[in-house]
Amino acid sequence: MDIESIHPLTVILFLPAAGAVVIALLIKEAKAVRITAALFTFIAFALSVALFVAFDRDGGLQFVEGPARWIESLGAQYYLGVDGLGLSMVILTTFLGLVSVFVSWKINIRVREYYIWLLLLETGILGVFCSLDLLLFFLFWEVELIPMYMLISIWGTPPPLGRKEYSATKFVIYTLFGSAFMLAGILCLYFSTPEPHTFSMVAIASGGVEWLTPVIPLASIFFLIFIAFAIKLPVFPLHTWLPDAHTDAPTAVSVILAGVLLKMGAYGMVRLIAGFGDGGLVPGVAEDYATIIAAFAVVSVLYGAAATMRQTDLKKLIAYSSVSHMGFVLLGIFAFTQLSLTGATLQMFSHGLITGLLFAMVGLVYDKTHQRQIPVLGGLARQMPVIAVVFSIAGLAALGLPTTIGFAAEFTVFLGSFTSDAYYWVQAMVVLAVLGIVVGAGYILWMLERVFYREPKEKYDGVGDADNMEKAYIFAFVILIMLFGVYPRLLLDVISPVFSSWG
């Protein structure tokens, strides 16, 4: 059977939401709720794997659905499709969506509500990666807000350890602030297209600069849209929502937040400047500002790394490291070579897996010990050997050890950016950013040493190790991290054709 005949993207996109509706209407009992959620997210994941297999490695947009009329007078369309970039993000999302169901298995307050919001969140994020229509894209971009707000503010870390309500509100206000500008930018872009105006990202990206008659300078449109992505990514100094939201979110939500929510920003940036491998949505602007944006990228890397170094809360430490790692993505994107863009995408994928796993591990440590303060923990390797080993693998992947996907991704970014001639200082920027790796090795190893490898403490005797379900999902992470680390071509074959027109 031809997979296209079942409208696979629509099915994947709405399966989690359908699961949420089923749970809301039909299922009362907590265990049945969990199983239903697992079932729906599993089917979505399996389908996206099938898409990955069926994907034509020559590149281009595939599994396109629509454009179908949606709001006729505006020319907004229901228009879905993925290229290598979108597909890699879709598969990452469905994987983390499935895993997060199991990560949350032990949540036992307001279980139904929790899974409903979690599933709606997954649909919202998937929509961002599949939409080819700017209005549809924006709609999904915002749909994710309310589930996220609920998940953090209800199931997050309560005082005195956390400030869940504050963090949730901060997250929403920050994102809304960004999307306020993005909306204005999208509308300006829309009216810059020739009559009849269009929201189609494909049409805009293939149109090029002569096709547009800008209503305001293109650079203004670019930055109106860019700022929303920069907040989401996040880029220093717009990152301050991130440590709060990550730290106070429940474990599974941190996994999703770090794993794919940040990627929405990165994904948006790649689309904005690289389109679908052609001119980008706002052509000819990014190059002019590459130096300054790359400078922000380097500051994010170094500031993020330095801030990470001095965290004492395990979860906050991982959260700050995301700022640093997302800096690499930004650097790669704004070097404009095929290799650097591919590397940036690979880094998005890699960070999703690695940081997802790290947050899951922090969740496990916290579950067992009820403690996240690094100085209070110590010597846990004796009491929880499996957790210690997997945490170490995740940590080593995060610092870019070869044979893990972390190495493949960061190496590709650096190689691709170093050989770029996008702006005058590009090599210096790369060298500075590489320093981030050195600091990264420092904070990861130091953290592992303090948490797992000192003298064991008596009070943690008998806290227990990962149980079978937990082992299952953390091993799944490890397998993927190693698989793509040893054989990154699996992903590169899908991703790099997207950027084949770049030098």
Partner: protein, 478 residues
């Protein structure tokens, strides 16, 4: 004389009189509500039957076109929902239940007529028909707050009517006619002859009319009455005021300003007035709403802010802007009615409108809490709700008219508004419930909640259902 064109208004007045008469003989007062709602089907049916007509009658006083029919449909629909949601609220009264329903029907007739006239005097008359009924309705509870609200509304309303009438008088004096189309011809002559700026009385007339209508739509600086009246009035009437009265106000503004002052040489000037007033309205409404602890007052300030958003559509002088106003009003009506009906249900149980008393509502009545949260999210403008689509569409129109600055102010205001709407959601979802007792709701209230919340969702996903009607209506010149 074509009474067919006037059939919706004639029938609604007939039903109002019928309700008053039956009130004398019917003991079971809930029947009156049923009769009113069932009766509303007649004017709605007439409205649908008239759809597509473009006729004037009664020497230009009555203008039946898709534009006015859109508003009639909207206002009668709102009236039906308001009556349904009043049944329980009103049944607590010992007396005057029949009058209540009759007054709602009469004011609906007045409001609908406002959208149907092409002449200044009939605008004024229909406005008074609507207003006088509403003054009585606001004071209907007869406790101190309600009476104060009614008195305040009446005095300020009377002043604004006087101001409006004065403005009309100036315009009549300068143009010699009260018909909008003739005013247009005369104004265009003045403009073409370069005499416009030599006739300050005409400009003063325009400004006074902005003031008179500004009161109706609750725009700054004519918004002072809003919080007190919203808080004191019976909640169904607050809901009614916030959506129907506003809709009719905008209908008249669109009609008068596009028809009589639509000359491109002056339209830019009044559009700028609306743009500035809109920007101030939304900023003031949203900022002050943050400080409110009473949910009705909060929604009062939110309604001022929404008047500001809708004025963005007025400032964008185009068919797109007009249809944006129409669609926004329909979407706002659904979301705001939904929120108010949820408030009616809650306050009839807990007897309070304080936001803090909504604590833990999700555990007492999950569906109700969800609907209220969903309607509030629509008021913020987050998808998948009609509020998002409405804002998107109206901002779209503004960008088309190069009003980027106004759109930026408006979207930033939406961010501010998220703070106070979400605070209610937070209290409902995170707070500890004062008791575990469920909040009961009657069948009529459930029906209205279902209609409004489904409407918010469906139009949020597929707005074209109503948008195409709004566009047809807005395409009617002028």
């Amino acid at each position: 004389m074509d009474f067919w064109l006037l059939s919706p208004e004639l029938s609604i007045c007939g039903i109002a009189l019928l309700v008053i008469l039956l009130d004398l003989v019917i003991e079971q007062k809930k029947l009156l509500a049923a009769i009113s709602v069932a009766g509303l089907i007649i004017p709605i049916a007439f409205t649908i039957a008239l759809w597509g007509e473009t006729e004037t009658s009664f020497s230009g006083m009555l203008v039946v076109d898709d534009f006015s029919l859109f508003f009639k449909f909207l206002i009668y629909g709102i009236a039906a929902l308001v009556i349904l949601s009043s049944v329980d609220y009103i049944s607590k009264f010992a007396r005057f239940q029949g009058e209540y329903y009759a007054l709602v029907l009469l004011s609906a007739g007045g409001l609908a007529l406002m959208a149907t006239t092409g002449e200044l005097i009939s605008i004024y008359i229909s406005l008074e028909l609507a207003s006088i009924s509403l003054y009585a309705l606001v004071a209907f509870l007869k406790d101190s707050k309600s009476s104060e609200a009614g008195l305040k509304y009446m005095i300020l309303g009377a002043i604004s009517s006087a101001v409006l009438l004065l403005g009309m008088a100036f315009i009549f004096g300068m143009t010699g006619t009260t018909h909008l189309d003739e005013i247009l011809t005369r104004v265009s002559e003045l403009v073409a002859g370069g005499q416009l700026w030599d006739t300050p009385a005409l400009l003063l007339g325009i400004v006074l009319m902005v003031a008179g209508f500004g009161f109706k739509i609750a725009s700054v600086p004519f918004q002072m009455w809003v919080p007190d009246v919203y808080e004191g009035a019976p909640t169904p009437i607050t809901a009614y005021l916030s959506v129907a009265s506003k809709a009719a106000g905008f209908a008249v503004i669109l009609r008068v300003f596009h028809a009589a002052f639509g000359d491109p040489l002056i339209s830019g000037d009044w559009a700028m007035i609306f743009a500035v007033l809109g920007a101030i309205s939304m900023t003031l409404g949203n900022v002050v709403a943050i400080a409110q602890t009473n949910i009705k007052r909060m929604l009062g300030y939110s309604s001022i802010a929404h008047a500001g958003y809708i004025m963005v559509g007025l400032a964008a002088i185009s068919t797109l802007g007009k249809s944006g106003v129409l669609f926004f009003l329909a979407g706002y009506a659904l979301a705001n009615l939904g929120a108010f009906i949820a408030i009616i249900v809650v306050s009839s149980k807990i007897g309070s409108d304080q936001i803090s008393d909504y604590s833990g509502m999700v555990r007492r009545s999950p569906v109700l809490a969800l609907i209220l949260a969903f309607c509030l999210i629509s008021l913020i403008g987050i998808p998948p709700t009609v509020g998002f689509m409405a804002k998107f569409y109206i901002f779209n129109a503004a960008i088309q008219q190069d009003l980027l600055w106004l759109v930026i102010i408006a979207v930033l205001n939406s961010v501010i508004s998220a703070y106070y709407y979400l605070r209610v959601v937070k209290v409902m979802y995170l707070g500890e419930p004062a008791s575990e007792e469920a909040v009961p709701s009657s069948i009529p209230l459930r029906i209205t909640l279902a209609i409004t919340s489904l409407g918010v969702l469906v139009l949020g996903v597929y707005p074209w259902l109503v948008l195409k009607l709004a566009e047809t209506a807005a395409a009617i010149a002028p």
